[in-house]
């Protein structure tokens, strides 16, 4: 459901001049398996995910998400994705229900359809008690629940998650992990970046290690464990970053 082909994106800054944040990146992520994009800070994970979410335009290369090319039809791509980051990105002066209505209707859903989805999420994520309270009164966990519902309100086949557990406590992180598991069960294509190797080890079927904008290694988790003769993804990751040899 996600096909990335020779994706390249450059930036300019005062320190480095023009540099490639993403360099000829290619990979596939069919529906079902969860794709984990691992890398150090500044490796190009966020840029890759922002390009896939059509927030940034690639310099060259392209990608197809749920059958739509992000250069030819970015709006359709956006209709097919759910985007979530660790920063919940919620409007503090609106209630959870108002936010879900806003994003649901932007996705083209009717009010009635949004209401029906809200009822489902409200029960599933136990949000009934706070859905009509303004977000600025929420705890981090409550915010994350509304964010999850916001991401899934239009039932997208593709989920793009940029470090969704960054800065969250154990309980809230767990909710995110459960959410990814459920998406996997529903047959959605999930691509997520993370720093937490244990999370990647628990959730991912396929791992892509990105370093200095290039795909250093792309393999299933099982193959990597076999190849590096270890169960520890931390060790595998560090070896890939160091020289790539087992």
């Amino acid at each position: 459901m996600i096909e990335v082909r020779a994706l390249t994106k450059s930036f300019r800054d005062k320190k480095r001049g023009t540099f490639r944040a993403v360099d000829e990146l290619s990979f596939d992520c069919p529906g079902g398996p969860v794709f984990g994009l691992l890398g150090l800070n500044g490796a190009g994970k966020t840029t890759t995910l922002r390009v896939l979410a059509t927030m940034l335009k690639p310099d060259s290369g392209t990608a197809k998400l749920a059958g739509f090319d992000l250069l030819d039809d970015p709006e359709s791509v956006r209709r097919k994705i759910g985007f979530l980051t660790g920063n919940t990105g919620l409007y503090l002066r609106l209630t959870g229900r108002e936010i879900l209505h806003y994003f649901g209707q932007l996705e083209g859903m009717t009010r009635k359809a949004v209401d029906a989805r809200i009822t489902i999420f409200s029960q599933l994520l136990d949000m009934e008690s706070f859905l009509d309270t303004r977000v600025d009164k929420y705890s981090t966990g409550m915010k994350q629940k509304v964010s999850i519902a916001r991401t899934l309100i239009h039932d997208p086949p593709v989920l793009i998650l940029d470090e969704p557990t960054l800065g969250l406590d154990v309980v809230t992180s767990r909710a995110i992990v459960e959410f990814i598991r459920a998406a996997k069960t529903d047959g959605k294509a999930v691509i997520f970046s993370t720093h937490h190797m244990h999370e990647a080890a628990r959730l991912c079927d396929t791992i892509g290690v990105i370093h200095e904008g290039r795909m250093k290694r792309l393999a299933t988790l099982a193959d990597l464990k076999r190849e590096y003769a270890t169960e520890d993804l931390d060790t595998i990751f560090l070896r890939i970053i160091a020289d790539g040899r087992p």
Partner: protein, 446 residues
């Protein structure tokens, strides 16, 4: 363009800013409550200060006056208190020489109050005396003032006062009024002594009165006052109303991380730009409307104090405005609101945070408010050339509209040019905002 998305973004943004106390404070509290309160407060304070000063006896030092003049001053309804010379000297002597260095000239002045001091030293000395509250003003009557054979043009009764000091200015007015009356009485006495009867003396003294009547229509009189203030007030209120929503909906979104969420939604950049722009524009126009209503209401209560002292209309403000002028002003307000909203959005979208955006907007405030003051300048009128100068054209357009009395033709050609040029600038500014919303280096600036 997806109008449904524009409407969704607009409604959501409007709901959001209407729940923001900071925005509401600037949008409603300042123009609706604070401005009128300040106007009422300042005018009431001034009126009470004037009344208080009028009711209080003004301490005056009089040099060389005849007993008749002294009696006239003392018995005046205007409340004047003559300061005895010894009290005056004692007060000046007690002044701190460091604070009042001119006090050292006291002895020279005492020796000859008329010509003991040079003009410049005398000015400094009397300034110290007034400031040190030895007297509110000093009246100097030369010994040869009355009955002298000298040319009357060279004979002066002089009042020394400090115009910047409210009590001294008020004392000067009181003394001058008494002196004028006394001079008139003196003139009449002289004419009578020259053998004229009362009627002839009065006719000789004042053969006729000069009276005038302002024939400007009431709305033109009001319009003149409003024409000076209104452009400045409108532009200031548009800026106040639009500023916080513009920052909130751009830099504020970046700061809170909500911009990414909306950019990843199916809403197009044009739809997002338009929705946000319309919301800022609504806030700007709402602020102007609320502010104008509030000012009109306050004015109609007669709470603004206009007019000159002594004129019949002190304390009232007759709000007679040509209704067509108001329609023209409203029409001009729309492109103004659009231009300033788009400008504020295009600037604040470049900032990474609320604080940074405020820093960017401060110079814009000056750039906008200074040309709006052109309406205060006498003699500058709206011309075809000035109709293309942004902001100044609106100020002059509003002024021209307010100065058009009922039944008079509006200068439609130049007003149309103002509308057109401002619409062009607003469209360009809006296009700029749209481009900014497409610029990755602006949206994802770190």
């Amino acid at each position: 363009m997806n109008l449904r998305q524009v409407k969704l973004v607009y409604c959501k943004e409007l709901k959001d800013i209407l729940r923001d106390r900071r925005t509401l404070r600037l949008m409603i509290l300042v123009p609706v409550v604070l401005y009128p309160l300040m106007s009422i407060g300042i005018s009431s304070l001034m009126m009470s200060m004037i009344k208080k000063q009028e009711g209080k006896a003004a301490p005056i030092l009089v040099l060389g006056a005849s007993s008749e003049l002294r009696a006239a001053l003392e018995s005046s309804e205007r409340k004047i208190e003559l300061v005895p010379m010894d009290v005056f000297i004692a007060t000046v002597e007690a002044l701190d020489p460091e604070e009042y260095p001119a006090r050292i000239h006291l002895d020279a002045w005492r020796a000859d109050p008329y010509s003991g001091l040079s003009d410049s030293v005398q000015t400094r000395f009397y300034y110290a005396c007034v400031k040190g509250r030895a007297a509110d003003c000093i009246l100097e009557i030369p010994p040869n003032l009355i009955g002298s054979a000298e040319d009357p043009d060279s004979l002066h009764a002089r009042i020394f006062y400090d115009e910047q000091e409210f009590r001294s200015d008020a004392a000067e007015s009181k003394v001058r009024a008494v002196l004028r009356d006394w001079r008139d009485t003196l003139s009449m006495t002289m004419l009578r002594e020259a053998g004229m009867d009362d009627g002839a003396a009065r006719r000789a003294f004042k053969p006729f009165w000069i009276s005038n009547r302002d024939v400007a229509p009431a709305e033109k009189k009001t319009g003149f006052m409003l024409a000076m203030m209104l452009p400045y007030m409108i532009i200031l209120m548009v800026m106040l109303g639009a500023m916080y929503p513009a920052i909130e909906l751009t830099a504020g979104e970046k700061e809170r991380g909500t911009l990414e969420t909306i950019l990843a939604s199916p809403a197009g950049r044009t739809e997002i730009t338009l929705g946000k722009f319309l919301c800022v524009f609504t806030a700007a126009i709402a602020t102007v409307i609320l502010g104008s209503f509030s000012m009109t209401f306050t004015s109609s209560l007669g709470m603004f104090q206009f007019g000159n002292e002594g004129s019949a209309d002190v304390g009232t403000f007759n709000l007679a405005v040509n209704p067509s002028s108001l329609i023209v002003v409203v029409l001009l307000m729309l492109p103004t609101g659009a231009l300033l909203s788009a400008l504020l959005l295009s600037i604040s979208v470049m900032a990474r945070s609320f604080k940074e955006a405020q820093g960017y907007i401060t110079p814009l405030m000056f750039l906008v408010i200074i040309p709006s003051m052109i309406a205060f300048m006498p003699g500058i009128e709206l011309t075809a050339g000035l109709a293309w100068v942004p902001v100044a054209n609106i100020a002059l357009g509003v002024k021209a509209a307010m100065l058009t009395a009922k039944g008079e033709a509006f200068p439609w050609a130049v007003l149309g040019m103002v509308f057109l040029s401002t619409m062009i600038y607003a469209s360009f500014a809006l296009f700029l905002v749209r481009q900014m919303f497409n610029k990755e280096s602006v949206l994802f600036r770190t």
